[in-house]
């Protein structure tokens, strides 16, 4: 079984990610279906009669996978926005990088 750490930490991180991801339409993030579903699933698996519960571990692994998905999507979007989201520079900006200015040609080029 993968080394996942305590389930509480995964749950808290997952709820924090969901808080950032949801609540766009004005509804508080607590009412989002994913938030409620995750909380309900963790509560349902809290009490079992077995010492080593396979369903608990499966749920924990799924939660950790979903956490990884949300986190890496957010980081990827942030990196994209910062480094790759701006397109090319216009000819005026490129000229300005080396201190030149494009000539004004009111009659058009050539």
């Amino acid at each position: 079984m993968a080394a996942l750490g305590p389930p509480l930490r995964t749950l808290r991180a997952l709820l924090r990610e969901l808080r950032h991801a949801g609540g766009r339409a004005g509804r508080p993030y607590r009412h989002a279906p994913a938030y409620r579903h995750v909380l309900a699933a963790f509560r349902a698996h809290r009490v079992t009669s077995e010492k080593l519960c396979r369903a608990q571990q499966e749920l924990h692994f799924q939660a950790a996978t979903y956490l990884c998905l949300l986190r890496s999507v957010r980081e990827h979007a942030a990196l994209h926005q910062e480094y790759h989201g701006k397109g090319e520079r216009s000819p005026e900006e490129v000229a300005g990088l080396v201190g030149f200015r494009l000539p004004q040609q009111p009659g058009g080029k050539g």
Binding site: A21, P33, Q62, Q105
Partner: protein, 288 residues
Amino acid sequence: MWRGCRPLCWGLSPAARLPRSPPGPAGRGAGRPGGGRAYAPPAERKRFYQNVSISQGEGGFEINLDHRKLKTPQAKLFTVPSEALAIAVATEWDSQADTIKFYTMHLTTLCNTALDNPTQRNKTQLIRAALKFLETDTVCYRVEEPAALAELQKNEWDPVVAWVEKRYNVAIGSSTSILGPSIPASTKETFVSHLASYNSWALHGIEYVITQLKSLVLSMALIDRHVTVEKAVLLSRLEEEYQIQRWGNVEWAHDYDLCELRARAAAGTLFVHLCSESSTIKHKLLQD
């Protein structure tokens, strides 16, 4: 550029009256002096819906954007068999801010692929495509020098290979030659019969994970919950990590690729697990 091909997703009902996407760069550059035009990234669709909700139909669970039902690129109704998967897809749509970034919606893409099956593949073809990665599996190809990298590969990859060999009772091995290891036919048959036990939706997910991680061994270890997603991605990129440790990290390339690979592998794994599980709750009452 990002790995893999452009995701297929538009996911909009063709019957809905929606503003068409604006024309490409040619239209935008018409006003510039001298006819020169700069490339600006194509304008993305704005978020046109307020609420995302889930409803249950006859085929499964559906997603509603405001009052419109979500459809696949081939205009089929978007139905998923599992409620948790529907909730995750709805969260993806809900987490879009002003513009819709389709390249971040991996679960939606996977569902669209499974529903539309644009390459028209049945289960046998999917399994064959997945098995093809075994002959060129990343963890089976070892280098001889530099010695530090060879040592790292031995320490990190050997346990995973041994675990998979033990779990499926097969022989895989590793090799340093350019032809790679020779995989016996019994190994392939074992994997074929194991993969055949998944349904076709889960097979789409499995094949996706294998294509992203470039390794069947790592994907099997991941889907069987032996390694976490972060660890599987690390093992898949072992040589890159080694070079990063040696020469330094470039954020806009290395971290970008790492996040994208993690997102895709996590989405694929989650998709497989949600498509192939069924849960029942048995309540035991205490006798007072």
